[in-house]
């Protein structure tokens, strides 16, 4: 992780009519950092990502979001987004899905072939390269999305509760794979989750959000050594600390 600022969020405010959803949120994400954003369900985590990417034509009510010091431009900035739902293109095979972003970015065919091959190996889907998404299991589908995202070597990877629908054993496996990919590529990651254990396991820093209107309750640096152990007392201590911050009961 370098000291260079990749994403700068300043006084981000978003209202839907009179409903204030995001209330004056400011924070920075450094290049190569793995940031987890946690908060109670419905606190506006996804709205934050949608504001960042303008995916649903969300315009900020106030404040600004800069990537490399410039306003977000999806054509210019190399951003990848992994959704909570499996978002593989059903009409494309596994390898076509992984190659999609590279083709859109008009990379040379040799590079596309090489990258696809590498990603297939990394996510363990080489044998399934010619399968269609409808023929794959949930974990394989999410692997396809991850491989497609990493294939374009994004400068920023956004992940919106990508493992939310998976059981624990599968989630642990995919989390480990993600950490390996992140360490290998050095991509800046903003990972949104409501699962505190997941946030502690993955992150270098955790941003804890409040209930609506959402603001930042606390930023916590996570310096636990890797590989992390969920039974480690230090791990549990940090998990309890974050839990105390977001619990409303």
């Amino acid at each position: 992780m370098s000291d260079e600022i990749k994403v700068k969020v300043s006084h981000m405010t978003k209202k839907f009519g009179d409903l204030l959803v995001l209330n004056d949120i400011s924070f920075d994400v450094k290049t190569g950092e793995f940031l987890c954003v946690v908060g109670p369900t419905g606190c506006g985590k996804t709205t934050f990502l949608n504001c960042l990417t303008k995916l649903k034509a969300y315009e900020l009510t106030g404040g600004e979001i800069l990537i490399n010091g410039e306003p977000v431009d999806l054509q210019k900035h190399n951003i990848a987004y992994i959704f909570q739902e499996y978002s593989s293109f059903p009409w494309a095979t596994v390898e076509e899905n992984i190659a999609y972003g590279l083709k859109v970015k008009k990379r040379p065919p040799e590079e596309i072939k090489e990258r696809v091959e590498e990603m297939l190996q990394l996510v363990g889907l080489t044998e399934y390269r010619s399968y269609y998404p409808g023929q794959l299991s949930a974990s394989m589908l999410q692997r396809v999305s991850i491989a497609r995202a990493f294939a374009v070597q994004p400068e920023l990877l956004l992940m919106d509760e990508p493992y939310g629908q998976m059981d624990n054993s599968l989630r642990y496996k995919l989390e480990d794979e993600l950490i390996q990919l992140w360490q290998r590529t050095g991509t800046t990651v903003i990972f949104i989750t409501h699962n505190i254990e997941e946030a502690v396991y993955l992150s270098q820093r955790i941003l804890v959000l409040t209930n609506k209107p959402t603001s930042i309750k606390k930023e916590i640096d996570n310096n636990l050594p890797r590989p992390r152990d969920v039974t480690d007392p230090a791990f549990n201590q940090l998990r309890d600390e974050v839990t105390d911050l977001i619990k409303w009961w």
Binding site: L55, F83, W91, G134
Partner: protein, 259 residues
């Protein structure tokens, strides 16, 4: 396993057709219907002889090819126009606002109702027959393409956009492939409707074609000829539907494997 299933299916199909012919033979041999309705043997005999002896100006294959040409020309033009209009209405609010009310107004009108108007404007030549076949196909293809384009998963569009796809490319790379299965479903129905339309079109001011053949049989009280025409249309319709399914399997393999 699959081969065994295919053989089983084929056996059932052959048995079902055999039962149909036995039933037909029984009705036309042992019931009062024998006075008015030809049996399967007579119909099949005429069917075979009509391959060599002309009915009107052509042998049966000639009539069939004429009808087929009319259907395919009308169907192809209507399919292209239907896909363009349907996808445009589904993907653009402006196109929907402009074209949907007109489309909804014209949609319930069956192709047969257009015959007089089409003949008035285009005469009794080939063009009017192509147009009538096209009208039959156009509605189904447009409607299915419209529904397909409306139901494109917004998450897939978002995903493509995030990966840097331009708005124009989203149309070709996401919207169009997404609605292909639905477009094909519409095309299957459209093909049948085109056949219905061609028969209606050939019954008015035509000198050739399957519709003309049936009309001639009807005018001369030759029910055997009517039934030959019906069987030929049934067989060709079945064949065309099978061809469509093969094309669909090629283009929408992902959808078939999923289901």
């Amino acid at each position: 396993m699959k081969k065994k299933l295919d053989v089983e299916k084929m056996t059932y199909a052959v048995l079902a057709i055999a039962c149909f012919f036995i039933f037909w033979w029984f009705i036309t041999t042992f019931t009062p219907a024998k006075e008015t309705t030809p049996g399967p043997v007579e119909v099949i005999q005429l069917l075979f002889t009509s391959f060599f002896e002309p009915i009107g100006s052509h042998v049966i294959t000639g009539h069939l090819l004429v009808s087929l040409r009319r259907v395919l020309v009308g169907f192809s033009v209507a399919t292209v126009l239907g896909i363009v209009l349907g996808v445009a209405m589904g993907a653009s609010k402006w196109a929907e606002a402009i074209f949907k009310p007109i489309f909804e107004l014209l949609r319930p009108i069956p192709p047969i109702a257009w015959i007089s108007l089409v003949i008035l404007f285009f005469g009794i030549g080939e063009v009017s027959k192509y147009i009538l076949c096209g009208i039959g196909a156009f509605t189904n293809v447009t409607l299915n393409a419209y529904t397909g384009a409306q139901n494109v998963d917004p998450e897939l569009v978002g995903c493509a956009r995030m990966l840097g796809t331009s708005e124009r490319d989203i149309f070709f790379r996401v919207v169009l492939p997404s609605c292909t299965p639905q477009i094909f479903a519409g095309m299957q129905v459209a093909l049948s409707t085109s056949w219905m339309a061609v028969l209606a079109a050939e019954m008015v001011g035509a000198q050739e074609g399957c519709g003309w053949m049936i009309q001639r049989g009807s005018d001369t009280l030759n029910i055997t000829l009517v039934m030959v025409g019906m069987i030929v249309i049934g067989c060709v319709g079945m064949l065309l539907a099978a061809v469509m399914r093969v094309i669909e399997r090629r283009l929408c393999a992902w959808n078939i494997m999923e289901s």
